[in-house]
């Protein structure tokens, strides 16, 4: 299967290791991975802040680029960016042509764990990681894309890793895009409920499917000098600690 990577600007610039890990895992399960270097950002920050014309401009660009990429699927290591692609059609309420193109691209776009679990039917990628881990459901992956069992199944099959559920795994980490800097105090108050639960879980790493949530959670963990590592699912699945 030929997979076109939608890397997301956040992973590209801030967390490239997530992207490299995703490539490694996808290759390991037999995919041919291609990457179109013209891609930048899906426009989610603009869309979520109300800047629709700016978002439209980036969405159109995205659609054009990925229409030209020859691949069986577009895969992204982010639930919220994948969800944004699935929302593209809302940017063209009065333009049937663009709406159709947006929907066609959205149909081919999959979040990383969903692609592995639902498209390929892979449950075990042969990863090794030592220690106890837990999972944070990124909101868009959970509620826009209905991902719940997919990442958990993959984590449970990582050799050496012990999976524990957070009591509030499905509650927001408080990131929310520009919300995190428009209302930083509220954002951090929400975050601290999550951090409290992670602390109690006694884990080595907290895993999630969105780099944005992981920046929020990880940024607070390091600020508090916690030893718990914020880690993307792709990084965990690429790990080979024997």
């Amino acid at each position: 299967m030929r997979v076109s990577l939608f890397i997301t600007c956040l992973v590209d610039q801030l967390w490239p290791a997530v992207g490299m890990s995703a490539v490694e895992v996808l290759r390991r399960v037999g995919c041919e991975v291609v990457f179109d270097e013209r891609q930048t950002c899906c426009g989610q920050p603009a869309f979520n802040t109300g800047y629709r014309s700016e978002a439209r401009r980036l969405a159109q660009r995205f659609i054009e680029i990925f229409e030209e990429t020859e691949s069986d699927a577009i895969v992204s290591p982010s639930g919220s960016c994948t969800a944004m692609v699935h929302h593209f059609h809302e940017l063209f309420p009065d333009d049937k042509g663009w709406r159709r193109r947006a929907e066609a691209v959205a149909d081919r776009t999959h979040e990383f764990s969903s692609f592995l679990g639902n498209t390929l039917g892979v449950e075990d990628v042969g990863a090794h990681f030592r220690g106890r881990v837990t999972w944070h459901d990124a909101c868009h992956g959970l509620r826009d894309l209905n991902l719940h069992s997919e990442p958990r199944r993959l984590i449970r099959n990582v050799r050496g890793a012990e999976f524990v559920e957070l009591p509030n795994a499905d509650s927001c980490c408080g990131f929310g895009g520009t919300f995190s800097v428009k209302y930083p105090e509220i954002s951090v108050a929400i975050l601290d409920s999550k951090i409290e639960a992670i602390d109690k879980a006694g884990v080595r790493a907290v895993i999630s499917g969105d780099a944005s949530c992981l920046m929020q959670i990880g940024g607070r963990l390091t600020r508090q000098k916690s030893a718990v590592r914020a880690m993307h699912l792709a990084e965990l699945l690429a790990a080979h600690e024997e």
Binding site: I7, L14, F35, T49, G50, L58, F179, I186
Partner: protein, 492 residues
């Protein structure tokens, strides 16, 4: 203390976050009502199916609202009720005031109703020297404390038992006690007297059935039953979106509303009122007046996205599920309707001019949409309103809003859309930032930045005050990819 404005949402929220008593009270909210709700959902077979049916009923009603309202009014009148139409809050208050005056009312009781909160009925009546006594325990507490409700269903959720004990001691002159049975006993004794002397009872409406002209009100304390049956005159204030087509539709909503609102299978009381009493020996009021209130609702109706706001049955589930509400409570929103649904309804009711912060008061996590019994896509509405804030339009009209957006934010998003439309500008821009960030990066992260940097880049300042920031990586993914591929192509 809690008469805050939506204009100062950010400051209100900071005050709320510093209020440890408030946050303690709010912690119970999710763990009590939220958990009870989850259990209550398991007592129906097909929750999703019920939600679908409820929304379909609401959509059908809203698509033909004129027809159903007319039928409701006709049938209610046939049963002996009198219908009054009010365009806005002022008209609705004036109608109620006139009805009270015409009846020489001196004592008025009132049950909990968001519609009357919305039009600030108590304030309007107080100005004329006619203060209705709130009879819902929570509302009565709020009235004693001269506050406003902080939740749609549990209005005094922000108050602790201790605070209520102190309030009762101060206002009612009783011995201070935190024995709940004693406190409620005192409330019961006082309120019974108020019921006995009242000439008029004012209530809200949960559902108005078009087919029969019946109104349904749900409650747990029996105060609605007394308010609507003991006084000679009953006045019900009802938003026009409360109408539903058929009596059998109630079956769906009676399963959804109590479970979503309080986590109960059914409320203790359901008052179905169809006009006035028929025979002298019957119980019930001699006169029933229903004030049908528009107050901005047709504007919501006019747009396919905003129309769903009118499907709301005021259960409060979205408040309980909302991570923002859970932290700051209801008063910070500075509006009658707080929480996620308040953040979408309030700007539509009173305009975005003073409420432009509310649609942004959400992390867009979608927990509200997930619990909503009528499947309102609140995040979609929030995004719709954010676009209106940015574009300066309201409900599709070209009306300019007095919304001052920060010029800097506008510029930043324009620049972003422009530069990131070009892979070259994107790459060079981030490379320059990589160099500029250098002095701030330590151990692979950016700690709290200096005041000067925070002033130059407020988002970075806001982020790093509490969280470390992830710097731009020394080598981006695309650089690493490129390297790997040139290497592969060279056959290494």
């Amino acid at each position: 203390m809690n008469h805050q404005s939506a204009e100062t949402f950010d400051a209100n929220a900071r005050t709320a976050l510093a209020d440890t008593q408030l946050r303690g009270a709010l912690r119970n909210l999710a763990s009590t009502i939220g958990e009870r709700r989850k259990v209550a959902l398991t007592t129906v077979d097909d929750w999703e199916g019920l939600r679908e049916r409820a929304r379909a009923i609401k959509d059908e009603t809203l698509a033909h609202l004129d027809k159903y309202l007319e039928a409701f009014a006709d049938n209610a009148e046939r049963a002996g009720a009198q219908i009054h139409w009010a365009h806005d809050a002022g008209e609705a208050c004036a109608i109620v005031l006139r009805l009270l005056r015409e009846r020489n009312a001196t004592h008025v009781v009132k049950s909990k109703s968001m519609a009357t909160e919305e039009i600030h009925l108590n304030t309007a009546l107080e100005a004329e020297g006619l203060t209705p006594v709130e009879t819902d325990l929570g509302e009565w507490i709020i009235q004693l404390a001269k506050e406003t409700p902080s939740h749609i269903v549990v209005p005094a959720i922000h108050k602790s038992k201790k605070q209520i004990a102190e309030l009762f001691a101060e206002k009612l002159g009783i011995e201070p006690t935190d024995d709940v049975a004693v406190l409620t006993g005192v409330a019961r004794r006082i309120l019974r007297q108020r019921f006995a002397e009242a000439q008029v009872g004012i209530s809200g409406v949960n559902f108005g059935v078009a087919e029969t002209g019946t109104i349904l009100i749900l409650e747990n304390e029996g105060n609605v039953r007394l308010t609507t049956s003991l006084p000679k005159t009953h006045i019900a204030v009802m938003g026009i979106e409360k109408v539903i087509p058929c009596f059998t539709d109630l079956d769906v909503f009676l399963k959804l509303l109590p479970r979503s609102g309080t986590g109960q299978s059914l409320t203790a009381y359901q008052s179905l009122i169809t006009g006035t009493k028929r025979r002298p020996e019957d119980e019930g009021p001699e006169e029933v007046h229903i004030v049908l209130m528009e107050n901005g609702r047709t504007r919501m109706l006019s747009h396919p996205v905003t129309r769903q706001s009118l499907a709301c049955i005021r259960c409060g589930a979205c408040l309980n599920a909302c991570p923002v509400y859970q932290q700051i409570g209801g008063h910070a929103y500075g509006s009658v309707y707080p929480g996620p649904i308040g953040a979408v309804i309030t700007p539509q009711l009173i305009g975005l001019g003073k409420t432009a912060q509310l649609p942004y008061a959400s992390s867009l996590c979608g927990a509200c949409r997930e619990v909503c019994p009528v499947k309102i896509d609140i995040p979609q509405l929030l995004l719709h309103l954010r676009a209106e804030v940015v574009e300066g339009t309201a409900n599709g009209t070209a009306q300019k809003l007095p919304v001052k957006r920060k010029i800097v934010e506008r510029l930043a998003f324009s620049l972003y859309a422009f530069a990131w439309s070009s892979p070259r500008l994107y790459e060079w821009g981030t490379r320059i930032a990589r160099v500029l960030q250098r002095p701030a990066v330590r151990d692979g992260r950016i700690g709290k930045v200096s005041t000067l940097v925070a002033k130059l880049m407020p988002p970075l300042g806001a982020w790093t005050t509490w969280r470390d920031a992830r710097p731009i990586a020394p080598r981006s993914f695309r650089e690493q990819w490129r390297e790997q591929h040139t290497r592969d192509n060279r056959g290494v």
